[in-house]
């Protein structure tokens, strides 16, 4: 599918690379997002990367859609060969007891043991496709095939902040308490979103995430350190 430039009224242009959840599409979206930011086009307000498209919000009083599309066409072609820089985060996750209310149910549905599920989930390096739903909520993939399940038929009204969840081939972390229909297989004590920081969301689209299994006691220790602003999530720079 060719790149398509779609207008969303007079406030945004959507650059659509395809209509699937696909790593190669995501890499193209993220490359374009980085190029648009670096190009600093007057009148461009911000970009919103998703699985398969980039929304570019603009102020039509400064730059109209046709001129913006012409600029974006150049950037799409010029950005083709470049690599994305990303951060790989090692996020501690506890998969025990009350931190993992749906682990037994997921085991029953997949035919795997709890230990199998944890092993598969914590040995995969996930790609952050996008953030959305609530501030700081990362949509990450791809789950190993054996863990792919539809959403719960009975969504919860309250999912606790920090819940590590899976559904529909993706994994996520709930940054704040919110309603949700994903299966909760663990929890992290780290903070995903903090308005006091200039970069409020821990994760950015394009980042990589590896979950590191911890026990309940370590969960409590890290949580106490997080609450005291004395914990940094381990990370390193990688080239995607």
């Amino acid at each position: 599918m060719d790149v398509r430039f779609l207008t969303a009224g007079d406030s945004a242009v959507v650059v659509e690379f395809g209509d699937r959840v696909d790593r190669s599409l995501s890499e193209r979206v993220l490359r374009l997002s980085a190029s648009v930011r670096a190009a600093n086009i007057r009148g461009v307000l911000e970009t919103v990367p998703t699985y398969r498209s980039l929304m570019v919000l603009h102020d039509s009083l400064t730059i109209g859609a046709s001129r913006l599309i012409a600029e974006l066409e150049c950037l799409v072609h010029n950005a083709a060969g470049e690599k994305n820089q990303a951060t790989l985060w090692y996020i501690p996750a506890c998969y025990d007891g009350s931190h993992a209310p749906d682990l037994a149910d997921v085991a029953a549905r997949t035919g795997l043991t709890g230990a199998d599920i944890v092993q598969r989930h914590s040995s995969t390096v996930f790609h952050v496709y996008m953030l959305g739903f609530v501030p700081g909520f990362p949509y990450m993939g791809d789950l190993p095939d054996a863990l792919v399940l539809p959403r719960r038929t009975d969504p919860r009204v309250k999912v606790p902040a920090g819940s590590v969840a899976i559904a529909a081939g993706q994994t996520a972390i709930y940054p704040v308490e919110s309603p949700g229909g994903w299966h909760l297989i663990g929890a992290t004590p780290v903070r995903l979103f903090d308005v006091r920081l200039p970069k409020p969301a821990l994760l950015a689209p394009g980042d990589k995430v590896k979950f590191c299994q911890i026990g309940g006691a370590e969960f409590d220790e890290i949580r106490a350190a997080v609450n005291a602003d004395a914990y940094r999530v381990p990370c390193e720079s990688v080239v995607a």
Binding site: G9, L61, M130, V134, P135
Partner: protein, 318 residues
Amino acid sequence: MQALEVVVPGPHTTIQDQGRIGYQDVGVPRSGPLDRVSLALANALVGNPAAAPCLEMLLQGPTLKVLAESVRVALVGCNATLEVRSANPRRIAAGQSVTLVRDEVLKVGSFSDSVCGYLAIEGGVDVPIVLGSASTYVRGGIGGFRGRRLQPRDVLDLTLAAVREGAERALARPVDLQLEHPIRVVLGPQTEYFTDEAIRTLFGSDYVVSAQADRMGYRLQGAVLAHKAGYDIVSDGIVTGAIQVPGSGQPIVLMVDNQTTGGYPKIATVISADVPRVARRRPGRTIRFVQVDVMEAERLRNDQEAALAHEISAIASI
């Protein structure tokens, strides 16, 4: 104490400025006023910059007690009256400024025309700037006064302890709320997910604003808009004004607290000039959509800004 005390908050009163730009990629909506035209005019009446933090009131205003030495306010965007309760009681219409002194009580009545009204305060409300804006995003608990709607006994700090010298000022004419005007839209970005019949229906029938209308979106009721094949798309970005159509076929116009991404196809997008026009329509009011192209939408926005600048320059002392 340079402050206002909330006696009665009103059903949904929040602090809003021009909105929060630059965080939609991490899921934080722009927020800001439902009706940016009225917010700009209210600010102009009290001599504030166009986007100073104001009180946005939905359906009904608050009752506030003046703790500062004096405070100058102006109401724009709705037909409520400002009622001053004190030894010197008086009633002031929307569209002009008024100065109150310590211990006077200001009651903003209920309003029957627009959904939203704006009370500007000379110098502005003093709240922390969170992620670049004073706007309240209630669902995320971000910005404004403690991230939430106002509640009884809240004390709002003000930037000024007393008003500046100067006469009260009034708009040259009331704001035209355009409650009957058509709503102009640009087709897309997912028009191809709908049948030709659905597009004819969108422009050929009346939609009614339902009771499910809040800062996140206005659900409409009317003729069903049929999808060609399925109503799930792989999530993409959502802009304020997008008309999203879920499985029910009943459209939802996304408003200023819209989710940043979503998985329903969007048949069309309300032009930026007409987002305030939609925002003002309360449940039960009618919406008729008409199509324009992007160039026309851009011209209409330009014209709207010029008209707004003209109204601001026509503000005169009374």
